[in-house]
Amino acid sequence: MSETFALSGCLPPDVPEILELQDALWHGEEHNLAYYHWKYRDNPYLDGRFSVLARDGSGRVVGMVGVFGSRWERDGARFTLPCVTDTIVVPEHRNSPLFHLMLDEAARRLRDAGIPWLLDFGDQGAIPAMLLRGWKMAGPWPLSVVTRTGDPFRPGWADEPVRTGTRSGVPISVATGDEHTIAAMAEVASRVPDDGRVRVARDAEYYAWRAANPMADYRYLVAGDEKPVGFLVGHRFVLDPADGDTPTTIVECEADDPDVKADLVDVAHDLLPGRWILLCTQDLPAEAREVLLRRGAEISEPTGRFALDGHLPTLMLKPTGAEPGAPVPPDLAEPGSWDVRGTPGRAWR
């Protein structure tokens, strides 16, 4: 493996080559530029300055590691941490050290900027190799999969009548990702007490940015009458066919009390499209877990074996070498450091 690569940041003149490279990942010219702008230019926390591009000896772009901003909080203090995403290597350089060279370069740039951690929620198959290179692992976390029986593709999502939660008696309505829904979600999230762990900073700015993801088909449920008391967000890939056999992931579920949360999970399993409904059950209350079991969920618990846990959600963390300073806590690599009560899916992406 004697080939050397030129590693650089992603600059505006590189964008056409990036879009061409990422076409296999992002699937389609129509969405590529919109997604790139949303993820990197419009990210409210960090621009794409730490993304890494690799060129071969001829100057051709052969790989990219995207780095976008995510916002976290603990004990009332908020901080931004960069997160790896959109990693791609051209076929002839896959299974080469290029992927790790780019990750190391991103970490080096972050260290030089005084940023202590790099996060990754990505490809589970890469975990053992990442651990060898100094990454830490928080997780894996358990995952519920409910296989829908019959026809799981209900037409007319927006016209679904209001449901009443069987446990809480609270009305649950379908919603769009408009400013009212965003305000309702931020209001509910703001009432969730801090428990000393690190969690996603969920406010209106965060939800507005995420709702604008051009590659996501989000489905929203809101619980409550005039005052919102809970919400749930289901995610599908926007290019998945409406009646395709693809999963829908519950990426957020938050409520003022466990019965409302359980009702949201219950209604979601009636209304969301998709052959399978996925939900990370880490930090999920017992009431909602009961709903899943009643619906025949297969809940995969971590086994500690990489070959068996590869499909489970895991958070990878790379210490860059920069000293953690306030407010970034130093113990992020401890599995118990993370609060995913309301963000069971990849809500932060």
């Binding site: 050290p97 490809d123 053992p128 060898l132 500690g304 074996r305 990489f306 070959a307």
Partner: protein, 91 residues
């Protein structure tokens, strides 16, 4: 209960090498061949290797074992497996 002795090191080395050759599609591999930084052992091949070794030797390779010194060469992997099998037998 019968105590099963841990496999002799060259037996383990042969098994590790055989697994690597199969996973990597190679015909020969020196015990000191550098596997990680060279890119010989890809991420996916590594997942496969761990699964093979766990099955073959009835051991568990956890995240705390995932250190570069344990996987840098076939010989290093052999030492890890030997230590694991010895610990299993002793336990």
């Amino acid at each position: 209960m019968t105590t099963v002795p841990p496999p002799a090191s060259d037996t383990v080395l042969a098994a590790v090498s055989e697994s690597l050759l199969e996973l990597l599609g190679l015909t020969e591999l020196h015990p000191e061949t550098e596997l990680v930084d060279s890119g010989v052992l890809s991420s996916l091949a590594m997942v496969g290797l761990i699964a093979k070794l766990e099955r073959r030797f009835d051991i568990r390779i956890g995240k705390d074992d995932l250190e570069l010194t344990n996987f840098r060469t076939p010989l290093a992997i052999t030492r890890l497996v030997s230590a694991k099998t010895a610990a299993t037998s002793a336990g």
